[in-house]
Symmetry: C2
Subunit: 176 residues, 2 copies
């Protein structure tokens, strides 16, 4: 396939690049891919009577037109250091600051169409320190037992890919 | 925020919709979201001497400009039944047909920007039955021990979100 053109079709928090090709049989073919600055995913853990609990979000997602249960997460600003981004998103979405942020590895969100890299962090030692939310966010914070979330990640009741990865890595890290 | 316009900016295997808003202070604001037909993710398991092995892919991803280790997966055709899609993608990417496909739940791939729903399946009872690959795929099939993949999913060496979810759900389902 010969690449004829590569152009940015739209740009916002991320951008869409479209590559155009000439196929061997002469037809034209377009392939889109998202250029994304990356994102952080937080697993904010608080001690609980029956083991650690996680501050989950019940969040309305415009792209889905529904409300889902997921870990706090957010898009990195261009050139923003990952740990700075992690602390900022945690404060915006849960109103908490973390004393320690422990890396839980990274994941590609959707490598078939996007270069979005997600960096996962265990957030511990939380204390009140809120920042204003993004204007288009509708969020409620819900503490859930980590052990129950791990079961839900495995049986399918937790159905957000980054949250499945974050919860199971956190449970493993904490020896659950 | 008042919605001024909602338009399709590009369409290929999936499409980009952009909503335009007028903010309370008068400024314009655009938000992009991907409308996606959904995808399947396969965990193709074969018996091995040291426990079950999984047919993983070593695949070049244009969006990342790199080769990653991941589970076989693929985009659903519009209106294609999920099980038909699962069998087709398995045959295209691994050359194998499955006697049984067991649902392992679903996950949202990237709900902040896309409505892509991924349906995960355990594929067992494999036999040779290849289909031609998509023209733009560069794939090598590699069998890996499931127990090792589960460890890699937890410690971060496996770094593709759908694959982390699929491997850990399959290991749980098979009692590993």
């Amino acid at each position: 396939m010969d690449l004829l053109q590569s152009r940015i079709v739209w740009e916002g928090k991320w951008r869409l690049r479209v590559d155009s090709f000439r196929l061997p049989d002469g037809r034209l073919y377009e392939r889109g891919r998202i250029e994304h600055p990356g994102a952080v995913v937080l697993v904010p853990v608080v001690p609980g009577e029956a083991g650690p609990a996680v501050l989950m979000l019940r969040q309305y997602r415009v792209a889905l037109d529904q409300t889902i249960l997921e870990l706090p997460a957010g898009t990195r600003e261009p050139d923003e250091p990952w740990l700075v981004c992690a602390q900022r998103e945690l404060r915006e979405e849960t109103g908490q600051r973390a004393e320690t942020l422990t890396p839980l590895g990274e994941v590609w969100a959707a490598p078939g169409l996007s270069n979005e890299r997600m960096a996962l962090f265990l957030a511990e030692g939380l204390s009140d320190d809120p920042l204003p939310m993004d204007m288009d966010e509708e969020i409620a914070v819900e503490p859930w037992p980590l052990a129950e979330l791990a079961t839900m990640a495995l049986d399918g009741r937790l159905d957000d890919a980054k949250s499945v990865a974050g919860i199971l890595r956190a449970a493993h890290h904490l020896g659950l």
